[in-house]
Symmetry: C2
Subunit: 101 residues, 2 copies
């Protein structure tokens, strides 16, 4: 099991982010507003940041890796996906199923 | 005259950006859609990038420096400001006055 998969399965909601990125800030805020307690990894601040970024490239399949949101250990997507799910009222059910709410 | 002020006064529309930043991408696209021909500096790609970023910190007065948009040599703001002006229908007149349209 790779590093990202392991970290993502440790908590119901895991967000890989960068502290310098306003799009990541928006998604973190959105999930916090739901009352979820997301586990946030700021890749530009933590010591293993570069290594995690490399592993994320494989999971996300795109050089634009942040934000990367995992719910219930599953990769859900980036900002676009999270916002779409939210607009479709599909995000809350997903969070409930994962035991995050 | 500092580096940023000099670069910003060379062209009607100057955008300081980072190629890795999707918010910058949105603002670049918005201005391109107006038919403006913006001069874009990707601070993460050009050799003087770090130096320009330092100078920008002073102009922008905020560590969140990109995107930084200058119209007619004047600092207009970041993504929020540009989008607000656009929604208020105030962006196009500003671009016309600067000779960008
Ligand atoms: N479509 C993606 C776009 C993500 C994106 O463009 N991420 C940028 C930051 S805004 C990124 O990861 N850039 C590469 C980097 O920062 O190393 C989403 O909706 O999340
Ligand atoms: N309120 C600003 C936010 C700008 C912002 O947060 N910029 C981020 C990138 S999204 C930044 O400059 N981070 C520092 C860096 O990349 O060095 C705007 O509307 O433009
Ligand atoms: S780095 Fe600017 S939006 Fe992500």
């Amino acid at each position: 099991m790779d590093m990202v998969t392991r970290m993502a399965s440790e908590k119901p909601v895991v967000i890989f982010s960068k502290s310098s990125c306003s799009m990541c800030h928006t998604i973190k805020s959105l999930l916090l507003e739901f009352g979820v307690n997301p586990t946030i990894y700021e890749l530009d601040e933590i010591s293993k940041g570069r290594e995690i970024e490399q592993a994320l490239l494989i999971v996300v399949q795109n050089p634009m890796v942040v934000p990367a949101v995992f719910i219930g250990g599953q990769f859900v997507g980036g900002a676009n996906e999270i916002i779409s799910l939210h607009l479709q009222q599909a995000l809350q059910p997903m969070l409930k199923d994962a035991g995050a709410l």
